[in-house]
């Protein structure tokens, strides 16, 4: 009987989440506590307002909150919550996996996909000029003029767009970030 395992029973899909996400039991429990804290009315799921309160400092707060919700859904339950957070686990180096195993959430590819989806809000597989402008406007607020915004967006698309369709698809996105140390920049240090 473990003091951690008995409390893990209170966590929905606890064992399965442990394997899927790779979080340790201690971290998963803390995340559950945090989830329960954010769930002020104890509904068992979170709405966007519950998360927005924590992100009012972040210029891209709304967009990040949106990443937690599946298209069309208005609530997120604990397993979905944790699956999104799993993208931010540091990548494991020495890992061999068979072809059948699903790609872990914190692989380089999955992290890139997560970032891509932050840009590509309508999920059509391409970052259009409009979408890029929206992101830039969020990041810069009222600090830059419309012309400056347009020129920044134009330059960014020109650099990354290889097939000249005035949009950035996932492969082009990945290629432009080839040399970036994504693991370091898209990972959060979890305390054991």
């Amino acid at each position: 009987m473990g003091s951690s395992r008995s409390s893990l029973r209170r966590v929905p899909d606890g064992q399965q989440l442990l394997q899927e996400t790779g979080f340790s039991a201690a971290v998963l429990l803390r995340l559950h506590q945090r989830f329960q804290f954010l769930d002020k009315d104890s509904r068992g799921h979170l709405r966007s307002e519950d998360l927005e309160a924590e992100l009012s400092e972040n210029p891209m707060g709304d967009r990040i909150v949106g990443a937690f919700f599946q298209p069309g859904q208005e609530t997120v339950d604990f397993p979905s919550f944790v699956r999104v957070l799993a993208h931010f686990r540091p990548t494991e180096k020495n890992r061999t996996r068979g072809g059948e195993q699903p790609e872990p959430a914190n692989s380089r590819n999955r992290k890139l996909k997560f970032a891509f989806q932050l840009y590509d809000r309508d999920r059509d597989g391409k970052i259009s000029r409009t979408e890029l402008l929206q992101v830039l406007r969020e990041m810069l607020g009222l600090q830059v003029t419309e012309e400056q915004l347009q020129s920044i967006a134009e330059r960014a698309i020109q650099e990354a767009d290889l097939d000249r369709d005035h949009a950035i698809c996932f492969d082009e996105f990945r290629k432009s970030l080839e040399k970036v140390n994504i693991d370091h920049k898209m990972s959060v240090r979890f305390l054991e």
Binding site: S6, I64, L118, M139, G141
Partner: protein
Amino acid sequence: MELFFNPFDNLLCILLGISFTVWFTLLLVFIIVPAIFGVSFGIRRLYMKTLLKIFEWATLRIERGAKEKNHHLYKPYSNAIIAREPTSLEEEIKEIRRSGSNKDLDSVSEFEMSDIFYFARRGVESIMDDEVTKRFSAEELESWNLLTRSNNNFHYISLRLTVLWWLGLLIRYGILLPLRVTLAFTGVSLLVFLTSLIGLLQNGRMKNVLSEKVHLMCYRICVRALTAIITYHDSENKPKNGGICVANHTSPIDVIILASDGCYAMVGQIHGGLMGVIQRSMVKACPHIWFERSEVKDRHLVAKRLSNHVQDKSKLPILIFPEGTCINNTSVMMFKKGSFDIGATVYPVAIKYDPRFGDAFWNSSKFGMVSYLLRMMSSWAIVCSVWYLPPMSREEGEDAVQFANRVKSAIARKGGLVDLLWDGGLKREKVKDTFKEEQQKLYSKMLVGTQEDRSRS
């Protein structure tokens, strides 16, 4: 048959009689008389030292037990889920770009697609861990103090611990709680009765002296009713007449703690019920400042009454808690400026509770007043330290807010609490938009600033 029962009955009566007498004598000698004269036998301190030794032993047992059974000991008392890097927006984005390109960084500092990583990571960190809301949940402890509220199935780890925990439960609820409730009852009824009596006297020195003595005595009884072990530091700085005493707020007990060492004029809203009865009788003996519910909203009226009271040097110093709400005693939040606007001398006081013995923080969204008091009375003890800081006045060119912040820092520093800029009202409201704007400003300076340089060259 009758002959058999009678002596037995008599014996029972005699025993009961003796035990009651002994009980009340003990109560009188050890608690009420010292309360009247303000002395202490030191029993509570001895109690505190014994408890500490037991807690240390319990923690060692838990850790040893966990190691033996090879558990991953789930420590719910670690500080955070994640470690946040204290780097700035500029540093981080430069680093992301440095790793992504071989170009010389100073000449090309424009928008990169990877910049979004910074915001995404920061956002997710905020979701998982928030500095402000941590202050509003009870402070987390490193060891277990044998209270159910702070354990996480710890008492199942060893038989000895389980026995100890049960024993503790018995002692706390069976012996300590009834004793404390009786004492509290005595203290409160004495307060109401005696102050009403004093109210019948003519206004004058005699009345003030008596009122002081009565107030002190009753508060001291209440202090013993909570088994509060208080250490007062720097008593030479105690608040004087015509001043305002300002302290950080953790629980309603703060009032009892301060008022048992000095006489204050309380400020507050008049309640109904028992609280109202107490308030009304207190004001008969000496002038306190009670507001009707409707008057509380009127800031000018409040300020006027406070300044009138303060200008009369014969009246007692006012006691105010400017945070406006109970904080969990690890930090001090923003002080509301009202009391600093009046122009009187401010006497700051720092109160710090020792969390090892019982959590004094009143989470008003979780517990009502009665259940809070019951929790307090069934804890082991309430141990705290009170520091009287030297008086402060508003300086030339300082406005009320700056003065309030200065006082707040002094209190935070003395009590070993974190001095936070956050508003205590944040508990219920959202953060202001200015922080978001700051981030946008910083980022835009990086991008647009360099564009201007480029167009110049």
